[in-house]
Amino acid sequence: MEKAEIELIEKIQNGDKMAFGKLMERYGERVMGLAFHFTRNCQDAEDLYQETFLRVYRNLSSFRFESEFYTWLYRILANQAFNLYNKRKRMSYADPGEGDYLWDTLPADAEDEADQATFRTSLREQIDHALRQLSAQQRVVFVLKHYEGKKIRDIAVLLDCTEGTVKRYLFRATRRLQAILAES
């Protein structure tokens, strides 16, 4: 870990709340990008972003510098994504297996509507739709692999599970996405 990062975390652990603002400035863009990939929905991504940083703040006293700070942050983000997903699932009326169709009932955001005619948007809609069909675990693993380029062993450490489990989620997610995108 960088010296500046260690000092920043130590400051927060010693009660300097202003330093936490700097920590958010440092990681905000990456966390938001990933939050959006996890949720494929702007409002949920904002909620996930805030919940993640609040959780980071509340648990930072237990961070012992035994892993990279960003790995620790990723883990919290992934756990919060699971929580959010489960919350959404509980709110949905029907549970169609591993899918989460509740999100499909939400209106498309303004940017999507503006771009509707373009090839990119239709493709993006297909991908949004396809990703929403995955279970939370499949989606998180798939996003970490595809968009973050993480190795399977790193994802396993991050999600605190075995490499075999990660592979299983990744394989299922890939096959399912392949099938959905091929249909569309």
């Binding site: 936490f20 603002g21 990939h37 805030q50 609040l54 493709l123």
Partner: protein, 341 residues
């Protein structure tokens, strides 16, 4: 290696670049013999191509500031939250006005503004000593920086006093008005600025550059957008300019403007952002000339990263010449990659 369930899993690991050297070689050999796996791999590559085509997610700075402010408030640090807002407010004022006000003519106005902002800070500071602040900058920040009528009046008076002294302002009307309280009179003045605000500066002037970047991306007049692109292209290698040209290439509705942006980008170094813009243009621009030029530019520095895009073009492009170009580039990359291996 015969085709088994395990081979299918190995193929996915091969696709995700998760095999060791020995396993990878074995899979390459298997692929040469097994048409089912080759077909599977093509489908996987096609899926990746679709995912590559989605735009990169970059949250707006304002959004992050707003969310960070909320988190700071939530963790009970009202000071930091407020000062994050204050920093943003001062930054906004500075960005918008500082360069215009830096001209000698407006220096006093700048001093007045500093004074007014200072007043807000003072009010916030003292108000915070006791109960949570109401009014002042805290409210200003919460209300999206909207000035109250009184504050706006104070600021206008300061600016008007200066402009009147320097001859930039004339009095158009002057009349006494009743303000509703018995015996009390106020004076209403209507003031007219002599000139509209106009800027002049060379291309290296940061304000001029910012205006040109704004014009290139947001001007309603296509000719002015084109002119702005033309002028910006005269600047030396500069990330801001490349990003602007890339944005014009992807988003502008006028194909002449997009074409010009593409031509001007061609002489600049490739960045992640410009590569993304070329990819999008090559895949979806309605104008085949732009698609072709974008593809040619990408092909000049073709590497394995480009494969998904090329696969997509070879399967979806309607123009045969472009499909062939994509195919040739794919073959070139494959040969290069085999030579390296």
């Amino acid at each position: 290696m015969p085709h088994t369930k395990r081979t299918e899993e190995q193929l996915l690991l091969f696709f995700y670049n998760e095999l060791n050297e020995k396993e990878r070689r074995a899979m390459q050999l298997h692929l040469e013999q097994c048409s089912t796996c080759r077909q599977q791999l093509e489908q996987l590559q096609s899926m990746r191509a679709k995912l590559v085509d989605t735009p990169r997610i970059t949250p707006a700075e304002e959004l992050l500031l707003r969310l960070n402010r909320r988190v700071m408030l939530e963790i009970g640090d009202r000071h930091s939250a407020r000062f994050a807002g204050l920093r943003q407010f001062i930054e906004d004022v500075r960005e918008t006005l500082s360069e215009a006000l830096a001209q000698p003519r407006y220096q006093l106005v700048a001093a007045s503004l500093t004074f007014v902002i200072g007043l807000y800070i003072g009010r916030l500071w003292f108000a915070d000593a006791g109960q949570p602040a109401t009014g002042g900058l805290a409210d200003l920040v919460r209300n999206n920086y909207t000035l109250t009528e009184g504050e706006s009046n104070d600021m206008q008076k300061l600016i008007a006093a200066y402009l009147l002294n320097t001859g930039g302002l004339r009095i158009e009307n002057l009349r006494p008005v009743e303000n509703g309280t018995a015996g009390s009179k106020q004076i209403a003045l209507k003031l007219k600025m002599e000139d509209d605000l106009a800027l002049k500066g060379d291309l290296m002037d940061p304000t001029i550059q910012r205006m040109l970047m704004y014009s290139a991306r947001h001007d309603q007049d296509a000719e002015r957008r084109q002119m702005a692109v033309q002028l910006l292209a005269g600047l030396p290698q500069n990330t801001g300019v490349s990003a602007t040209l890339a944005a014009v290439l992807v988003h502008d509705t006028d194909e002449e403007v997009r074409l010009l942006a593409l031509r001007k980008l061609a002489s600049r170094d490739l960045t992640d952002q410009t590569i993304d813009a070329y990819k999008l243009a090559a895949m979806r621009d309605p104008n085949p000339t732009i698609r072709r030029m974008a593809l040619e530019r990408l092909a000049r520095n073709a590497d394995e990263q480009l494969i998904p895009v090329l696969v997509l073009i070879t399967t979806r492009e309607t123009d045969e010449e472009l499909r062939m170009l994509a195919q040739r580039t794919l073959e070139k990359i494959t040969v290069k990659s085999n030579v390296v291996k």
